[in-house]
């Protein structure tokens, strides 16, 4: 019984070879999906699903500043430590302000110290380390990270790949004014 089973396994394996040939044959007949690069450039639809270096997503009302709340989820999710996020610190109070707060407390008023704003002051992304795994994008609590569709990335200096994403977002927002449709180089998720 097992011998028959084994023989049958091999025969059905033989059939799978023919299936494989049919697949490659079909691909052979199909249209090419690559471009002759310097003569043709990639269109937007061809970049569907492309994973370029990360970029920040701006707030809908203020595209120059990111949606990011500096929760550090991306940093802890990143397996290759390519993200450096520094959270904004609480504003330093002047002597008079401190005094005013103390006076108010003495008067029995409820005083709340100013908290640190929930935003990053530094967002450095080292593309030389990034493996584009997307853990940061998946883990972002406010959808502030996405892949750019920057295909033509080239440089002779590795420091060029240490990107300041905040600065990048600011220039992108500037370039976008007056605000219209999303820019070509970015993609809405």
């Amino acid at each position: 019984m097992t011998a028959i089973k084994k023989i049958w396994e091999n025969v059905s394996g033989l059939w799978s070879l023919i299936v494989g040939l049919r697949i490659t044959g079909k691909n052979f007949m199909d249209k090419q999906i690559t471009l002759h690069y310097p003569r043709e450039t990639v269109s937007k639809s061809q970049l569907e699903g492309f994973r370029g270096p990360l970029e920040l997503v701006g707030k809908p009302k203020d595209p120059g500043s990111p949606k990011c709340i500096a929760c550090m989820m991306c940093v802890s999710a990143c397996p290759s430590n390519c993200l450096t996020v520094v959270k904004a610190k609480a504003p330093v109070l002047t002597e008079e302000e401190l005094q005013a707060m103390k006076d108010a407390e003495a008067r029995g008023e409820k005083v709340t110290k100013p908290k640190a704003p929930k935003e990053p002051i530094k967002f450095i992304y080292d593309f030389t380390l990034c493996s584009l795994c997307g853990s940061c994008v998946e883990n972002c609590a406010v959808n502030s990270l996405r892949y750019s569709s920057n295909v033509y990335l080239a440089s002779t200096d590795r420091n060029d790949f240490k990107m300041d994403l905040l600065a990048r977002l600011a220039t992108q927002a500037q370039a976008k004014t007056p605000p219209t449709e999303p820019e070509n180089s970015t993609r809405e998720d």
Binding site: N10, L17, G20, L21, I23, T24, G25, N27, F28, D30, K31, Q32, I33, T34, H36
Partner: protein, 323 residues
């Protein structure tokens, strides 16, 4: 002038023509291989040198010829450089008895098939010497694999060929071709489909073509027996592989697919067309199937091809005896 026999002159001309044919075919097949690979992977393949990359193989050849010939330290220099020559020269000889057309045969001989089978065995020796002479462990491993594989696959190949020899009662390739007709149902492949399949699979194994390219498996053995070869040393192995591919396909066409017979009219073009169809199938197979493991390779041979070939041969012998 009268001392020189006509047969010798004819043979010389044939050899020169064969050398030209092999060289030219090498270029064409390199181009074809890369183009087919490209299209299967839905990219253009070579495209930049010449229109549609037509001059790419020529550029490759110039590069190969221009490279330095380097002998590794402590290698056996004599064996090392003898190997590519042994690999390439018999490949030329193998073309001599192949009937490309009614007249276009290098030399008519009664034992043409035997000559091809005998001299194709020399390739194993070449690979063995190359691996051994390189002073490189990858090379030795590749050579060992080449020997195990070629020795194994030669047997079902011989048995498949023998079935045809039994059936037609001849080892002369021209006679075997003459025994077949132009239409596909008059071919030997129709009478002996099993022998044809066994022959083709064994031929893939014999010529070290993927999925049976284990002697030079680059992912496991860097490049196997030709790890240490540079320039035309590698080039000759390469050319020999393509020449061997044409030989096995030519023999397959002569034995199984009616040779230069074709529907309506006969001619060499039919032969070449059939050979190229088979070559295309070989290339197609290469870019479809992953490389088998070595034990799988030997299992396919000893557990499947050999028993089937033996069975086929027995049935053939029985039927020919009866009729």
């Amino acid at each position: 002038m009268s001392q020189i026999p006509v047969e010798l002159v004819k043979l010389l001309i044939a050899l020169v023509a064969i050398a030209a044919f092999v060289g030219l075919n090498g270029l064409v097949l390199v181009y074809l291989e890369r183009k087919v690979a490209g299209h299967i992977q839905r990219r253009p393949g070579p495209f930049e040198v010449g229109p549609h990359g037509l001059l790419q193989p020529l550029a490759d050849a110039v590069k190969l010829i221009g490279k330095q010939l380097f002998t590794p330290k402590n290698a056996d220099g004599f064996l090392f450089w003898l190997a590519p020559i042994i690999s390439f020269l018999p490949a030329l000889l193998l073309f001599v008895p192949i009937p490309f057309g009614p007249v276009a045969t290098g030399m008519e001989m009664n034992l043409g098939l035997l000559l091809i089978l005998a001299f194709s065995g020399l390739n194993v020796l070449a690979l063995c010497l190359a691996g051994w002479g390189s002073n490189n462990k990858y090379g030795v491993l590749g050579a060992a694999r080449a020997v195990a594989q070629s020795v194994a696959y030669e047997i079902p190949l011989l048995l498949a060929v023998l079935a045809i020899a039994f059936q037609t009662g001849s080892l002369n390739l021209s006679e075997i071709v003459q025994g077949q007709g132009g239409w596909p149902w008059q071919w030997n492949a129709m009478v002996q489909p099993l022998a044809f399949i066994i022959y083709f699979v064994s031929a893939l194994g014999e010529t070290n073509r993927a999925p049976f390219d284990l002697p030079e498996a680059e992912s496991e053995l860097t490049a196997g027996f030709h790890t240490e070869y540079s320039g035309m040393g590698f080039g000759l192995f390469f050319l020999a592989e393509y020449a061997n591919m044409i030989v096995v396909c030519s023999v397959a066409v002569a034995l199984f697919l009616g040779g230069w017979h074709g529907p309506f009219f006969d001619g060499s073009w039919w032969f070449l067309a059939k050979v190229y169809v088979l070559l295309l199938i070989m290339i197609w197979l290469r870019w479809t199937f992953p490389r088998v493991r070595f034990d799988q390779l030997l299992n396919i041979n000893w557990k499947w091809l050999m028993p089937l070939a033996l069975l086929n041969l027995l049935i053939t012998a029985f039927v020919t005896k009866l009729s």
